[in-house]
């Protein structure tokens, strides 16, 4: 079981973790001298636009930021730019480091404007937002760089500049980004040579010698070997964050990308299987060691995709897939998250492997149904071949590798709150501010009319929110353009446009959604009690909601217990849920964004269901004000149902309406999964067959969690799935701990 400890990797593992821990404990590094030089250039040239300022940043980093090579790690990647240890990209407000200096030096007032926009609706529970645009869930064009290298991209940028295609400022910045990569490569090589002079350990010397050669050519040139491909993937993520503060969270579809290199190297004798496996273990353990996992506010941002299919639709499953899963099981990694795609025709052995990961209680796993998610992309007008190359991250958000910038997870919406606003007109001035004349819900002849008006209201509210994000998105290129990341994208260079200017082939946006089932159940309660049974008038119901059911406990109990609920898997409620979900998806999707793309529907919650519950008043499903909202595509928290019913209900829905995935959160007792890989495999297969979109696994050990609340010191390694990300239980806020402890009871 612990055979990995006897490998070269295993023997050095503790030293590697210790070396990383000691180095990153000192972060963020002091870069005040470098930053002062940037400020001086700005003083000398205050009119410089963001692209010009990006060039300065690239030059400063290339010339004056130290590079670090670790003795106990085989890859080169670390450029010291003053960024924080847990680098998500540049959240709002911008984080430290030179990579986000352009954002910090933006004097346009965007940050203030964003704060002024978001605060009132956030206080009123109408939205929850920490980003004006997506700087936290992106991916570099990994395959493009593996094939062409930055030298090839530089040539393309130069040709476009010479031909006068697109924005010259962008193209000059993209060229500077490529030059920066070249210069950093040379400096890594030199650093390796310096270390070689005093290094006596033969195995470390061999690694340093390899870095001295590879760093000069990769990722400047395309990768030739398995090692270079691995290093390129890892390094691109780091560069995207330290150069552009772009929030590169997704390492990529690694088993698909790496297998050709590994095959070639094994055939040529360049590498042994043992060496290759060790390199993959180093690779997988990277962010787990680099990140401070005790800082769990946003948990684990990095992700790895495996499985699924290739561009032709052929299922992907190879030794790289198997070794990655083995690395998770052996090392019990928390970060990165493992995103397992399932294509039609996936190998039985792949199912068994992922089921083992699921049942292990690792709680870092999400699964994705290619059949549903790929179709959801093509419904949005994306080519099938491109859609097949989707990746996921930071949580389950979908992104087409190499061809897309999709601004996701920037803002959370709550339709249950919107229903409340329409019913009770308690919008805290939102309608007036947004110049919305909301539809009245009074005097509807029937529920169909009521429902139409509600969805009209939802569309108006979401449109108004989208309008603001479009306004901010228009300012994105002047706040934090992404020339480095754009230089990994062929279409950006062909079009001469930055990713933030709509340079990618696909340019979607998406809001996240919480409280979907709270909304569905509330609508059902209104249909049943107001329109069918005529038990209450709408006015009476509104009175109860305003009073948070004070004095109406019997009525509340009826609404909660005697009206059927989504998730109970009755034919009638399933058909109703389908109508509601289709309506919500329609209201969320197809608005144009500022980059020439469209908004896409999504249902996943991160921790929004907890963030947004407090300001959300009582709901017609019997939910008290401030009580929990539903998560993802799960039934409401108070609905008594089982996992089989929950999965079967998907068969009545059309989740291809959600291009950004509709996530189910599975909470199971660990004892169910322990030693029962088969059960997890059956549930995965059932989920896929029933048309589920994406699912998140959380196997809770009830007794361990109860004990961890009392004796946290004894449970430092207890990992739970918070909601799309994983974290050590003892590091979570007490409120989050309580909520997770209660999940077991609810499920």
């Amino acid at each position: 079981m612990d055979s990995w400890k006897k490998t070269a990797f295993g023997r050095e593992y503790a030293d590697f973790r210790a070396e990383f821990a000691a180095w990153y404990a000192l972060y963020p590094a002091d870069v005040s001298a470098q930053e002062a030089r940037l400020e001086a250039r700005l003083t000398a040239c205050p009119q410089a636009n963001a692209f010009a300022r990006k060039v300065w940043v690239y030059e400063e980093i290339a010339g004056n930021c130290p590079v670090k090579i670790f003795r106990h790690y085989p890859f080169y990647f670390e450029v010291v730019t003053g960024a924080p240890r847990n680098l998500l990209g540049s959240a709002f407000p911008p984080v430290s480091g030179l990579g986000s200096w352009v954002m910090r030096s933006d004097r346009s007032g965007l940050a203030e404007d964003f704060e002024a926009f978001r605060k009132p609706p956030m206080d009123a529970g109408i939205l929850y937002s920490t980003l004006y645009a997506d700087l936290a869930h992106n991916a570099a064009g990994v395959e493009t760089i593996l094939n062409h290298g930055f030298a090839g991209m530089r040539e393309r940028a130069k040709a476009a500049l010479a031909a006068g295609q697109g924005d010259a400022d962008f193209l000059r910045a993209a060229i500077a980004a490529c030059d920066c990569v070249a210069r950093l490569g040379e400096r890594f090589a030199q650093e390796a040579e310096v270390m070689l002079e005093r290094e006596t350990d033969e195995s470390i010397r061999a690694r340093l010698a390899r870095i001295a050669v590879s760093a000069r050519r990769c990722p400047l040139e395309g990768a030739r070997t398995f090692f270079e491909a691995l290093n390129t993937i890892l390094y691109l993520k780091e560069l995207g964050n330290v150069l552009d503060s772009a929030g590169v969270a997704i390492l990529g579809h690694v088993d698909r990308l790496l297998w050709p290199y590994l095959q070639r190297d094994l055939a040529s004798g360049e590498i042994t299987p043992e060496e290759a496996r060790d390199l993959l273990y180093w690779f997988c353990a990277f962010t787990d060691a680099k990140w401070d996992l005790h800082d769990a506010v946003y948990g684990t941002n990095t992700s790895i995709n495996i499985g699924g299919c290739d561009r032709d639709g052929t299922p992907v499953f190879n030794p790289v897939t198997e070794w990655i899963c083995a690395a998770y099981l052996d090392l019990r990694l928390v970060n990165p998250k493992l995103q397992a795609r399932f294509a039609p025709g996936a190998d039985d052995a792949y199912f068994a492997l992922i089921a083992r990961v699921a049942s292990s209680g690792l709680n870092v796993l999400s699964i994705f149904n290619d059949r549903v998610i790929i179709q959801a992309q093509t419904r949005m007008g994306k080519a099938l071949e491109d859609s097949r190359l989707y990746v996921n991250g930071g949580c389950q958000e979908v992104l087409l590798a190499e061809t897309e910038l999709n601004s996701r997870a920037i803002c959370y919406l709550n339709p249950a709150r919107y229903l409340e606003m329409l019913l009770l007109k308690n919008d805290d001035g939102f309608f007036a501010r947004e110049r919305i004349l909301p539809p009245t819900l009074e005097r509807c002849n029937d529920f169909a009319e009521f429902s139409r008006r509600v969805f009209r209201g939802l569309a108006l509210i979401i449109n108004a929110i989208a309008w603001h994000y479009n306004t901010f998105e228009r300012r994105w290129p002047q706040n934090n353009p992404l020339p480095f990341l754009s230089a990994t994208n062929l279409q950006c260079l062909e079009r001469g446009r930055d990713l933030t200017q709509g340079g990618a082939l696909y340019n979607g946006s998406s809001f996240a959604l919480v409280g979907l089932s709270t909304f569905i159940d509330s609508m059902r309660a209104i249909e049943r009690t107001v329109f069918e049974e005529k038990r209450f008038t709408l006015e009476q119901l509104c009175r109860m909601l305003r009073a948070d059911f004070a004095g109406f406990e019997a009525e509340r109990a009826y609404l909660q217990n005697r009206v059927d609920k989504y998730g109970s898997d009755d034919d009638s409620i399933n058909a109703f849920a389908r109508q509601m979900i289709d309506g919500v998806a329609t209201a969320m999707a197809d608005m144009p964004n500022a980059r020439g793309g469209y908004y896409e529907a999504s249902v996943w919650s991160f921790y929004g269901y907890e963030w947004m519950r407090q300001p959300c008043g009582a709901s017609a499903n019997g939910r008290h004000a401030g009580e929990r909202l539903s998560r993802g595509i799960n039934p409401s928290e108070s609905t008594h149902t089982g996992i089989a019913a929950m999965i079967h209900a998907f068969s009545a829905l059309d989740l291809t309406a959600f291009a950004q995935a509709a996530v189910a959160y599975f909470t199971l007792p660990l004892s169910l999964g322990k030693g029962d890989d088969a059960l997890c495999e059956h549930l995965i297969r059932y989920f896929l067959e029933m048309g589920g979109s994406a699912a998140d696994f959380d196997l809770l050990d009830e007794s361990a969690i109860a004990d961890a609340l009392v004796h946290p010191e004894a449970h430092g390694d207890l990992v739970v799935r918070v909601c799309g990300y994983s974290a050590r239980f003892v590091d979570l806020e007490p409120q989050m701990q309580r909520e997770i402890a209660q999940r077991y009871q609810r499920n």
């Binding site: 019997a554 109990a557 217990n561 089989a644 169910l672 059960l679 059932y686």
Partner: protein, 290 residues
């Protein structure tokens, strides 16, 4: 069309036969096992469960019948005929009716919802209870529908029914789950309320025609001493047989309270006692799991 009185249908049941299953619980049982964790399964007639912790005293049930005249939170069970009107009115679910008359086809419709899960997992539908063979006509019809749909079927029985009941369902039953609680007749009568002669007669006959999983519930101070005799008996039988040892648990306590009945709690066997019990079967060549 036959109707059955059932009190629950449980999906994703993992311990009532192979794979992931849906278990249909029939109401009514001839035995009165001291440790029974489904007390609402025992009587054939519907019963009201009253959960005082859920009652908000709204009075929706007051005056509907003679059992509900004293006040909103009062319930005179001696006057209750389980008509179910109060449960229908109760907004909180404090009052629930255990026992619903459904046609076999209606039960099948619900049970078949997870047919793809059965296919994936090698599971199916199990008829349990109570004693499903006490409602043999509806059970047979339900099993026939399920088998016609290609679903694996199992019947969980205490075995204390005339052989004709087995005959009626044999053709459409793939597997039997069969309880043996004690070999000693006097003890059996004491802890289950009935003699075990018919149970012990039916089992060998059943084994000749169908595979059987014999389930042995173990309660520390009641029947743990019977293990050796049960193992000896089972090892003497021929047919496709394996044994599951079921460790006693007290999870049914709340239901006794809601039924207004006395709950007697027993001590479960220790893990060591379970291992020793399993060894009795293993040493006689009987496949056993717990």
């Amino acid at each position: 069309m036959s109707k059955a009185t059932i009190f629950d249908i449980q999906r994703l049941s993992l311990h009532d036969g192979p794979g992931a299953r849906t278990t249909v619980f029939f109401k009514g049982c001839g035995l009165r096992c001291a440790w029974c964790h489904n007390p609402e399964s025992q009587h054939m007639e519907p019963e009201i469960l009253f959960d005082a912790t859920k009652c908000i005293g709204c009075g929706a049930c007051v005056g509907l019948c003679a059992a509900r005249t004293a006040g909103p939170t009062q319930f005179d069970r001696t006057k209750c005929f389980a008509c179910g009107k109060c449960a229908q009115r109760c907004p909180t679910g404090a009052l629930q009716l255990a026992g619903q008359r459904l046609e076999a086809a209606e039960i099948a419709h619900i049970a078949l919802r997870d047919r793809q899960l059965f296919h994936i997992s090698g599971g199916g539908v199990t008829l349990s209870g109570g004693e499903p063979l006490l409602q043999v006509e509806a059970a047979a019809e339900l099993l026939h529908i399920l088998r016609a749909e290609g679903v694996h079927t199992a019947v969980d029985t205490a075995g204390d029914v005339p052989w004709e009941c087995f005959d009626a369902v044999l053709e459409d039953t793939d597997l039997f789950l069969y309880d043996i609680k004690a070999m000693d007749a006097a003890l059996h009568r004491r802890v289950t309320g009935v003699d075990n002669a018919r149970i012990l007669q039916n089992l060998p006959r059943l084994l000749r025609v169908r595979p059987v999983v014999v389930r042995v519930p173990l309660v520390a101070k009641l029947n743990l001493g019977q293990v050796k005799a049960i193992a000896q008996y089972l090892s003497s039988l021929t047919g496709e047989l394996r044994v599951e040892l079921l460790k006693y648990h007290a999870l049914g306590k709340g239901k006794y309270v809601r039924l207004g009945r006395q709950f007697v709690e027993y001590a479960p066997p220790t893990d060591a006692q379970m291992r020793v019990a399993a060894a009795e079967f293993e040493r006689r060549g009987v496949e056993v799991a717990f």
